[in-house]
Symmetry: C2
Subunit: 574 residues, 2 copies
């Protein structure tokens, strides 16, 4: 069985729960069928196993280096990206007119999870390129699409997003990079950008940077930000790559994990840039890409947790050590560690985290395939949870995977220690967990008079009512509780009080949402016989009985409108 | 201010809370005074800052390598160990007759924390040597003391403990290494030992291994284990180092962190060994060393968490980013991130973890200085908590430290990412968290009809009764609750049921014990004015109101005598 992902679980989620075959009734997906979906899934598994997984460790040990002239990346990366592009996966969800396959997002998301689980470092390049291309297709001119998007989809160019600056990470309103009209319709872009994943390398003919910058005279704050295409090289009218643009690599960041993806500090010095859409709408366009990237980060966290879990499960069945608690006869033969209760605890918890996280990511992706105002609203509310919950809990699955491997798990001879380091990034990039919490409680649950939260709770309740009472009951109660707590927090509209414990709110809401995902899987499993369905029923029970109660103290704290953090005098801290 | 540890906090804990000056009334410590204690503390801080901290990162990047002949360690390590030995700290707690200073354990523990926080990799060598020497002083012959202990205390030799084997990590009863009497009073020791910290290097003239092995014909299980001194080189009658003994390095393990300490697979091939004490008592002697090592591991986890916290606190005051929630005027100047509630949450939680953990470690150490049957019992009960609690929660402080640093915290340009990796080991070595949980619930709280737990709860209650009601009340309630839960779990003496959720028990008991440590600090702070005391009062309040409630769902689960883990069919897991 693959230790990258479980195809059996993907099939269950896609076909037995989400019923993605029914999407083929839609005009956009009319050319598709279970067979074409399966063909993409099969292909993804094959390429991930053959071209991505084998160099995952080498990507870590021999991380990219900058020799002062160019960035060196191990050759397996370019080879894997070539196979990926040729497979058609890079353009899978795009219109046929753009060279795509109009594959549903939910299936494409499942496909891409194979690559993220097999090699998060290498998979970041196409992920960023797809997000970049998607933004330009939505907001760019025809010429920008022809010049930049087509070569990206052909694998000749790669893409990045350049938001952060050394002094402005979470706080984009402090962006200093400036753009000056050059008089010919282009702009001269100058400034410093930080944390640019895929920001420099020799993996493509050039790199298409999407850069947030402020046009001279624009207002302060995020409303003054515009978006520019700034390629590493200028592109000639015939589409070939010309001379270098004013973008230079100031240095690479050396990370704890995720080392296979270059991460750069870039200097823009009067670089030629092309305005995307209208001035002052840069952040709005970028949010298009960022929301997709946030779901991608959540998916990456799930993928790393999932492969960690599968490695730990396999190890727990091979590794023989000690005897079950009840019969400590030293003459009895030792048993595989999967028989020890504490190892099972870590395995079952991990299963609940990674399969719950996977369900959430696929559920969110499917909302994109059935667009409606309601689905847009639901996705808006869910996005901070899809991003942050797996970043915390699927990371914990990797932590458990290390622990289950014991001393071996702490060594670089076993892959789980890399998963643990790699997954640590996901709580940081594309908006930290704390930023997601503020987004959820400060914006998403209050917007449109709370319509998003009400819709979410309606959906959860509908699922809970179909579940066995002993599982559905606690979830129904938690829905009521979260609604009350939200009202309590915002009762006087004071954001300092309401947001004082925003992270506790995100934690509670996240666990409720994943409890919902478990009830949904429980309902889909029904009474069907077999170890696979037993596993779904067991994990659903585990999540409701062992995990959901964690929300109790969090909601108690929120209900108390505690402002210990907001009020404290930081001199007390030491 | 030092970012290694807080001397102000150590002074508070040692002098204002634990009253260690009163120890000088004891005959053993009669030559000491506040001045001599302070001199050792000052010296430790100086040496840690000057000789240990500066090479902490180099220890990580240029980890020890084995060229097939010898193990290469960066030269700063030997230099630091020389200074450490010459300072007198290696023998600080030992009898004057053995060249020691009869320093109280509690003061020595505080001193050693400076080295663990400054450089956990380098500090492991003296920690292991001290534990080894302590065991031989307690159980070895005069000749063994003369031959091995004296050179260890002079810094000429270093020591290890060799328990684990490739097939026997947590399960020592499966030890296969065997010892055959050579006919001259010595033994020939053969077998393979795994995870031997400090197991090979050129930092000392030779290495004194303490090896668990089974004499031919000994019974199965732990009762058949005996302990042997097996030096890397034979020692000549004049005390000089002679030819190599039959101990060879089979390889080094390459770890996620803690890289400055070599970790070896050792092959013993008819190596000459000297029996320590009586046959069959090996594990009992080793537990002497292991209990000390477990407190040392807890202390290491505290030290790494503490330095992580201090780095994060300093960074949060320097790093300017964003605006406080209530006033999002983009024209307002950005603020230091310490003003953001979510950063404060992580800082205050970290403070509560690391200062609570430090208090616990020092409390436990002081029990050794006032030996009595009661104190022995209390230390027995506390040891698994002292080991496991900081390994989880002070590790979380390092996790928070990474998060507070944002992207910078994920890079190797900042020290917190190393602390995070280093601290991951502490939940694994010297008995995993799961093993500590079984030790606590399966042995420590049941032994002597529960006298240990009763004593612990009495001590906690006495402190809680002196605390303000709103803080003491929840702790008193938790004491009653833990006592009831313990009785419920063991009511029919079925270990399979009682131990099914042992980790939840450890988690709950650990949080209760640290809540006690916070009440004790709160009581010691009293109403004294100043930011330092405000901080103690604030963190105590935080721990009781934000942390202690976590125990509720854990105790609910335990009360339900849930056996989901024990009963499950592992085929369900995937």
């Amino acid at each position: 069985m693959s230790k990258i992902l479980s195809r059996r679980d993907l099939d269950f989620l896609l076909y037995e729960w989400l019923g993605v075959e029914a999407l083929t009734a839609r005009e956009r997906f009319a050319e598709h069928s279970r067979e074409t979906f399966d063909a993409f899934l099969d292909l993804s598994e094959q390429i991930a196993e053959r071209d991505f997984a084998p160099h995952n460790r080498r990507n870590d040990i021999e991380e990219p280096t900058f020799d002062g002239v160019r960035v060196q990346v191990i050759p397996e990366v370019a080879a894997a990206l070539k196979v990926f592009t040729e497979s058609g996966l890079l353009a899978a969800t795009l219109d046929v007119g753009h060279g795509g396959y109009q594959l549903p997002h939910v299936v494409a998301r499942a496909c891409f999870l194979w690559f993220q689980a097999a090699n998060i470092g290498t998979s970041s390049y196409p992920m960023l390129t797809m997000a970049n291309a998607g933004l330009l297709l939505a907001h760019g001119t025809e010429e920008q699409v022809a010049t930049f998007v087509r070569p990206m989809l052909e694998g000749r160019f790669t893409g990045t997003m350049c938001l952060s600056e050394p002094q402005a990470g979470s706080s984009l309103s402090d962006t200093l990079t400036r753009a000056v009209p050059a008089g010919d319709g282009t702009y001269k872009v100058s400034g410093s950008k930080m944390w640019i994943s895929g920001g420099d390398h020799e993996l493509s003919e050039t790199i298409v940077h999407l850069v947030l910058a402020r046009v001279a005279g624009a207002p302060a704050g995020v409303k003054g930000l515009s978006l520019f295409v700034v390629p590493k090289h200028l592109v000639e009218p015939d589409g070939t790559v010309g001379e270098r643009n004013g973008v230079t690599l100031a240095g690479l960041n050396h990370k704890m994990g995720y080392r296979g993806t270059t991460n750069a500090v870039l200097s823009f010095d009067e670089a030629t840039g092309y305005l995307v859409g209208e001035q002052g709408r840069g952040l709005a366009y970028m949010f298009h890409m960022m929301n997709e990237a946030r779901i991608g980060v959540g998916a990456g966290a799930v993928a790393l947790g999932y492969t960690g879990y599968l490695h730990a499960l396999a190890y727990s069945r091979e590794r023989v050590q000690g005897r079950p608690v009840a019969g400590k006869d030293p003459a009895a033969p030792p048993v595989p560690i999967v028989q020890h209760p504490d190892v099972r605890r870590m395995l079952l918890a991990s299963k609940a985290y990674v399969e719950g996280g996977l369900a959430l990511v696929l559920y969110a992706a499917k909302l994109l395939d059935e667009p409606s105002p309601e689905h847009d609203l639901l996705l808006d509310v869910l996005t901070p949870i899809v991003k942050a919950w797996p970043s915390q809990w699927c990371r914990l699955a990797d932590d458990h995977a290390v622990q289950i491997h014991g001393g071996y798990g702490y060594t670089r001879e076993y892959p789980v220690e890399q998963f643990y380091r790699d997954n640590r990034l996901n709580s940081i990039h594309e908006g930290t967990d704390g930023i997601q919490a503020l987004d959820l409680l400060g914006r998403k649950v209050t917007m449109r008079d709370g319509a998003g939260l009400a819709l979410l709770l309606d959906r959860i309740r509908a699922t809970a009512r179909q579940a066995p009472d002993d599982l559905g009951g606690p979830v129904l109660a938690a829905c009521d509780r979260l609604a009350r707590t939200t009202a309590t927090l915002w009762r006087d509209g004071n954001p300092t009080v309401a947001l004082a414990n925003a992270t506790a709110y995100l934690d509670a809401a996240g666990h409720l949402v994943v409890a919902w995902m478990w009830l949904a899987q429980r309902n889909a499993a029904g009474d069907r016989a077999g170890a696979f369905y037993d596993g779904k029923r067991l994990a659903a029970r585990y999540f409701i009985t062992h995990e959901l109660p964690r929300t109790g103290p969090l909601l108690d704290l929120l209900d108390s409108r505690d402002t210990l953090m907001a009020d404290l005098d930081d001199r007390c801290l030491g």
